[in-house]
Symmetry: C2
Subunit: 289 residues, 2 copies
C-alpha cells in the first residue's frame, strides 16, 4: 500500500485542486443509497459509452476506498499507478479513457483497506490534487454506497471546481428506494444537482422461456413512481442480464460485447441523456460566471 | 435526529461496555464486502430464525448508520426508541426479539444521515453502552458493506465483551468474491473468527418454466471454490427468490411467509449451522478464561 498524505492547508489546497481540475469540462458523480445495485457497473459503462466515439477524453475516478470494483470491471487488475513529473498518471484502458482507483495502490486485489474516515478523505484529496488527468471532457466519479466521508469529501473538494450533477442508481424494490430518497436528500443538502435516477435489475427475461420475472419486485411502484413523487428525472430502466456480470468479471465493456441486447440499448439511451444534460447545463453556467 | 454524544474516557468506557454486555451470551457479526448482496436480509432472517422457538432471547443491532434497512425489514418503520431508567429500550418485534437501529432515531425514513466517521463511531458506542438489551442469548450485528469506521468500531467496542464470530455474505460473481476476500483479510487482521460464508442469489428458478438461470454467474467458481482455496466454511447457498424481496418490503419474515421454499430451507440450514458454531465455541472459551 502506497503511503498517503492526510493533512494540508485548506486555502492553498483549494487553489491547488482548482488548478489541477482546470482541464476538466464536466464532472458527473455516480451515487447509490444501497450497495450492489450496479453503481460501479454503471460508472464503468458510462465511461466506456462516453469514450466510445474516440473524440472525447474521459476520466473515471473510483473513490470506493474499501471496495474498489473499477479496476476489475475495466480489465485493469494488477495495474499500478506511475509517478511522473506532473503527478500520478492514470491507468489507461484506451488512449482517451483513463482510470484511477485505490485498487492500483494495493499489492494484491484481495488486500483489505481498513481505514477510518480521515485516511480515506486524505486519499480522495490526493486523487484530485495529484492525478494528472490532463484535458478531459468528462470526469466520472464512482462512489461507495451511503452518505458519509467519501461523499462529503468528494463534494467538498470538487467545490473548488465544478460538479455538473449526480446520477443515482437503484433497484426496483422499496428497501433500495428508501435509501435513494436519502441520497436525494443528501444532494439537496450539499447542493449537487440531480441529473436523474437509473433503475437497474428492472425485470429479468428468462433465457429459456423468454418470459419476464420481477426478481426485485417494485412493491411500491419502483423508481418511476418515486421519481414522479420527488420530481426527479428517471433516466431509464435497465433489465437484469447475466451477460452484464460476465462482462464485468472479464473486465470487458458489456456495451461492445452484447451491443444488441435490451440492456445495452437501455444503457446507451441513459448515457445519451447524461451527455445531453451536461451539454445543456455547463455552457450556461460558464457564461454566468 | 436525537443528539448523540461522541467522546468519553476509554478505560471507564470499556468497563461500562463490559457491564452493559455482560448479559449477552453470543455475538455474531454479519459482514459483506460488497453491498446489496443480502446482508441485512440475512441478519433479519438469522434473528427471526434464532427467535423462532420462543425459548431464546435475540437482539438485532443495525450499525449501518447511513443506510439502515433493518427497521423496514423487521416491520418496525416509524417506531421510536424509548428512554427508560436503565437506558434506551430496544424496539420489540416479538417478546424475545429486540431491535436497535439509527432508523428509530430519524424523524422520517427518508432522512439522510450525513455523518463522517467519528460521529458514526459515537452512535455505535452509544448503542452498545446505552441500550438495555437485558439478558440475551444472541446479539446479531448487521454492518454496512466495507472495512471502515463501523467495522473497526464494532470490533473495538465489542472487544470489551466477546464476538463469537462473523458470517460473511456474498453473491456468486467474481466482483463480489473479490470484496469477500478483503473481508476475510479484515477478520484475520482484527482477529475475529469467521463462522463461514453464505452465497446469496445463487441461481434463479424461473417461476414460469421452472428452469434455473445464473443471474450473477459464478465465473470463477463462486463462493464454493473461494472457500476451499481460503479454508473457510461455506455455510450454504441460497437461491434468488422474488418472494424474499417482497417479504422484506412488507417487513415480514420470509421464513414464516414461504416456509416450504428452497430458499427458506437453505436459510434454516445455515441458521442451524451458525447456532451449532456458537454452541460449540462459546462454552470452551468461557472455561479457558
Amino acid at each position: 500500500m502506497a503511503e498517503v498524505a492526510g493533512g494540508g492547508q485548506p486555502e492553498a489546497e483549494a487553489a491547488e485542486l482548482r488548478e489541477r481540475l482546470r482541464g476538466v469540462k464536466h464532472t458527473v458523480v455516480v451515487l447509490s443509497g444501497k450497495g450492489g445495485v450496479g453503481k460501479s457497473t454503471f460508472s464503468a459503462l458510462l465511461a466506456h459509452g462516453l469514450a466510445a466515439d474516440g473524440g472525447r477524453q474521459v476520466a473515471l475516478l473510483d473513490v470506493d476506498i474499501c471496495g474498489p470494483s473499477i479496476p476489475k470491471m475495466m480489465g485493469l487488475e494488477g495495474e499500478q499507478v506511475h509517478q511522473s513529473g506532473s503527478g500520478w498518471s492514470p491507468v489507461y484502458v484506451e488512449e482517451n479513457l483513463g482510470v484511477m482507483s485505490v485498487g492500483f495502490l494495493l499489492s494484491s486485489p484481495d488486500d483489505a483497506v481498513i481505514w477510518r474516515g480521515p485516511k480515506k478523505n486524505g486519499l480522495i484529496k490526493q486523487f484530485l490534487r495529484d492525478v494528472d488527468w490532463g484535458e478531459v471532457d468528462y470526469l466520472i466519479v464512482d462512489t461507495p454506497p451511503g452518505t458519509s466521508d467519501e461523499h462529503l469529501s468528494i463534494v467538498q473538494y470538487l467545490s473548488a471546481s465544478h460538479i455538473d450533477g449526480a446520477v443515482i442508481i437503484t433497484t426496483p424494490q422499496e428497501v433500495s428506494l428508501q435509501d435513494v430518497r436519502k441520497e436525494i436528500n443528501f444532494c439537496h443538502k450539499v447542493k449537487v444537482p440531480i441529473i436523474g435516477v437509473v433503475e437497474n435489475m428492472s425485470g429479468f427475461i428468462c433465457p429459456k422461456c423468454k418470459k419476464e420475472s420481477q426478481i426485485f419486485p417494485p412493491t411500491t411502484g419502483g423508481a418511476e413512481k418515486m421519481c414522479q413523487n420527488l420530481n426527479v428525472s428517471l433516466l431509464g430502466k435497465v433489465p437484469l442480464d447475466p451477460q452484464i456480470g460476465r462482462s464485468c468479471d472479464r473486465g470487458q465493456s458489456f456495451l461492445s460485447e452484447v451491443p444488441d441486447s435490451p440492456a445495452a440499448s437501455s444503457y446507451r439511451n441513459i448515457i445519451q441523456r447524461v451527455q445531453e444534460y451536461c451539454d445543456q447545463h455547463r455552457p450556461q453556467e460558464e457564461k454566468t460566471i
